[in-house]
Amino acid sequence: METGFERYSCQIALPGFSETSQRLLQQAKVLVVGAGGLGCPAAQYLAAAGIGTLGIADHDNVSVSNLHRQVLFGPADVGRNKAEVAAERLRLQNPAITIVPYNQKIVHENVLQLVAEYDIVVDCTDNFATRYLLNDAAVLAGKPVVYGAIYQFEGQVAIWNVRNSNGYYTPNYRDLFPKVNESQIPNCTEGGVIPTLAGIIGCMQANEVIKYISQNGELLTGKVLIFDAQSMRSRIIKIGNITQTYITALPISIEQPVITVADLKQALAANSVELIDVRNADERELFDIGGRHIPLNELENNIDQLNTDIVKVFYCASGIRSAEAVRLFKLKYPEVKAFSLEGGLKAWRG
């Protein structure tokens, strides 16, 4: 057996696996984006299995409420950058591989360059903006993405954009969901998530990566797996063999600036902004801080009637819908200043 392959003897013994497969893993460059609930287990198993170069990108710091599902971290790591802590742990687990932490946010400006350095991307992100950005960058670069997403007890897994023998590419995230209204989909902080689901889905992502690189097993191409941790039932949904989308550029990135409660109070005193409440009528009935009322789902239809001479501040209960309102407003009026009230009325009331 090749030197250093003793560690991998129990996977080299697998039917369809060989020392050649192990060398493929050793030569592979895998980029894990997001070192959270999915990224921790995915990176752990990719490191264990001997992926030669493992990039880990996360600009976020460890917080206490991450620890119930982000198993690479402990309370002593709170406040430190996730990618850096993860790299530290994984180097102890497998010192023979190269681990490259990236502590910057993946944005429009750096995504193409980063994706170009890797063979395959693992989407372990926690927001739609980064998911679409990564998906589109990988499609432009012709590289596959192993997708994972979780919410409460339910997870999704797939592998996107794999080149088939005819030179066509399999479906990508936009074949499944062409666009998303982010404000309508609760995230894990709001709806909760069971930690073991993160482990199961993250390990399934690592599994697809290993199968793809070692060229062994049937990939989740043209399919999406839906798993429910409450009933333990899963289903695999067929999407199609070839992508029907045409991605020719990265998605337009729109800044959604926020304003703090303190700054807003000052601006209101100076009469320098117009307030717009984007909540529903029944929410407004209970409490409001003034301004016009245009529920988020009516904003697009009413956008032409807005006065563009004054700075806009959109508000809602928590700041999620108002951020979406800023995005819609800036799509129409890129030159007009608009802010979302950070933390929403929850923050206003303290």
């Binding site: 372990c124 979780i150 499944l176 969901f177």
Partner: protein, 80 residues
């Protein structure tokens, strides 16, 4: 005919339950079903996109729905 519709992700919250039953015409298409559903559950429309699968296959608006088909509404999921 009556069809059963399974809800996933936030569709469970929108329907208020993990599955619903709905009366549709015998030659209904996915488009017809979507229209009925979004009328009854306006929040569904606000999602921008959600996947409809019939018998574990992604379907297009023009596809016809048959009796005993298993229909699943699968919205996007963001967490990681």
């Amino acid at each position: 005919m009556r069809v059963d519709i399974l809800a996933f992700g936030v569709a469970k919250d929108i329907f208020g339950q993990p599955s619903i039953s709905m009366e549709i015409t015998n030659d209904a298409t996915v488009y017809n079903l979507k229209y009925l559903l979004e009328n009854q559950y306006p929040r569904l429309k606000q999602l921008s996109s959600y996947m409809i699968a019939v018998n574990n296959e992604y379907v297009l608006p023009g596809d016809t729905i048959h009796e005993r088909d298993e229909i699943a509404i699968i919205p996007p999921v963001s967490g990681g």
